[in-house]
Symmetry: C2
Subunit: 370 residues, 2 copies
Amino acid sequence: MHPTRLALDDDLRHHTPKKFDRTDRTACKTEGTGGRNRAVTMSTIARMAGGIQATVSRALNRREIVSPETLERIQQTIEATGYVPNLVAGALASSKSPMVAAVVPSITNIVYSGLIHHFIDLVRAAGYQTILVEAGFSAEEEEALVTSLISRRPDGILLTGVHHTNRCCSQLLSVGLPVVEIWDLTESPIDICVGVFTRRLARLWRTLPTAAAMPLPQPRWLAKNAPYAAGTPSAQPSRRWGTRRLCKLIVEGPASLERGRAALRVLLERGMQSGVIFGSSDLLAHGILIEAQARGLSVPADFSVIGFGDQDYATATLPPLTTVRVDRSDLGNRAADALLARINNMAPEQRAIDVGFSIITRGTTCSQRN
Amino acid sequence: MHPTRLALDDDLRHHTPKKFDRTDRTACKTEGTGGRNRAVTMSTIARMAGGIQATVSRALNRREIVSPETLERIQQTIEATGYVPNLVAGALASSKSPMVAAVVPSITNIVYSGLIHHFIDLVRAAGYQTILVEAGFSAEEEEALVTSLISRRPDGILLTGVHHTNRCCSQLLSVGLPVVEIWDLTESPIDICVGVFTRRLARLWRTLPTAAAMPLPQPRWLAKNAPYAAGTPSAQPSRRWGTRRLCKLIVEGPASLERGRAALRVLLERGMQSGVIFGSSDLLAHGILIEAQARGLSVPADFSVIGFGDQDYATATLPPLTTVRVDRSDLGNRAADALLARINNMAPEQRAIDVGFSIITRGTTCSQRN
DNA sequence: CTGAAAGCGCTAACAA
DNA sequence: TTGTTAGCGCTTTCAG
């Protein structure tokens, strides 16, 4: 193979925005009608089809109870006018919007968005639309958001995590909205919760042979277990955790490849010799692998790495990443099922649904017992 | 450093779900009240505070026009009852929900979610909540979704891409909803559009020195330019494109590290010698880097790689990734600005806003001219 | 099967 | 400043 030379034309390299003028306004609609043209409603359709508004409503919601001819006429006029029913009026009258709300800390984090993706699919299949909102990681922000969500009177609501302000919980409770909390498991959820049982994981950490370091946080419930305050990459003095010496490293902000790399640098500076590094996300763990490679260190010969999340790319790293897997699609599905069940007034069999987790052993750990 | 041994207790390794029973039902609410307890409304508050419903409405929306004492009394009762206003009634009465809708192909793809994140922030600052929905990559699905969104009467709507069904466009037009389309730029948007001017990018590709391969698609508008049908990883016979020989490789499905690795394997099998490989996303490009490394090939000595997206991790790869950057936060912000402007009935200065793009040169290309 | 009529909980004139 | 009164566009009894 020969080296490749690549030269970029300077004028192409940065493409400076081009301006359009607004001569072509074909699509602009506020013109011509002179003021807002009266919206077409059910009554409009009824009048045009020679019937009454209630019949149109029936034609739309329970087609089987109107005569075929009437139905036909109504459908034709609907088609002709391009009428779209007003769901907010419907929701007011029937006090049920076909809608649920989902609150996640971050929509850009695949850990949440992947799960929510499945959730949305399932509730959609049941006829519900999802209004998805981002709450950041603060319970106060969440409270404000939840209040404004409640004011939209969704049929149900999904919350991430189990730490909510008191106001938030009591509001939810007093409205009597079905709510499902995901990720953490608590034995006294607001309504139902589905997720993994945190203490189990913590216990797992504690029993592992040599815990060398543990970049944090991201999944909130890992963060919860951190005995040290967060700070910019800085190692804490090693201390005993369970029966092992643990050096915990808090990585501030969202996980990223770069933060993972930085984490390993810090750990090495602090004299880390060997052991296993826990990443609170696969991304962080992957960053650690890359930094190791850049420094000529070998994983798992020099140290082990365990990620969290089992993202799809965990099989594609060098070497493939050992990681903690929580079945997110399962979680999303169960959350949807549980919420739908509650919406339909079914008492849940269990109030806390544990989806469990497992360790997927790949190339970044050695699996021999010692 | 010494090798690390890692042994996992078998009973801990897989944590089988634990069952909870439902004895603790402290939080269950359908109990006690015997049937649905009448919801508290503005009238309830008014009665309790010794006033009239309209005053409560005023206290909530335009506090400055009610007397301090009345305000005080009302606020206290609201506090006491935990009353949350019903926005759907409000929306019906005022025919404005403080809400906009956003339609993206995929919420799990950071390319969209990153941008939407900014969009949401900005419109929220203006008092609007965003209902976010996923449309997949089909215009038909999108149409159905848009219809159901319209039925919720949002104040505005954001669409991804410029390819929509006719019904979709005409419905949007007939409702007279402010709409902003993002990513692609077209000179005849439904309402306004903000994004990058595709033809410019295509022209850039064409002038590059040696185009060896181009894994596709993901950004829809790259896909659009593909002269070959999609298929599982398989190289197309090289053909002339512009003045260069181009070997295009279509990668099916969403981009992933693994698909990038597979792509390089295929390209090598097909006898790729040198040149530059375009990834339609940074993830794909990163996969290519990893595979190169696994095979002992050197980038950019053996071949160059250019990604797309300038994700945060592009600086953290080995070597750092040269990539095409579209400022997504800028795009999200401008989209929000544009939509808000339209909602406030301001005629846009331009109907198409070009945010441009740039090539960020890092370590995976050599920059010497030839 | 179709009509008539009473709201759903709020906003927005208008009047006092 | 507060009270009165119409609706918003639909769902849902209840009669016909």
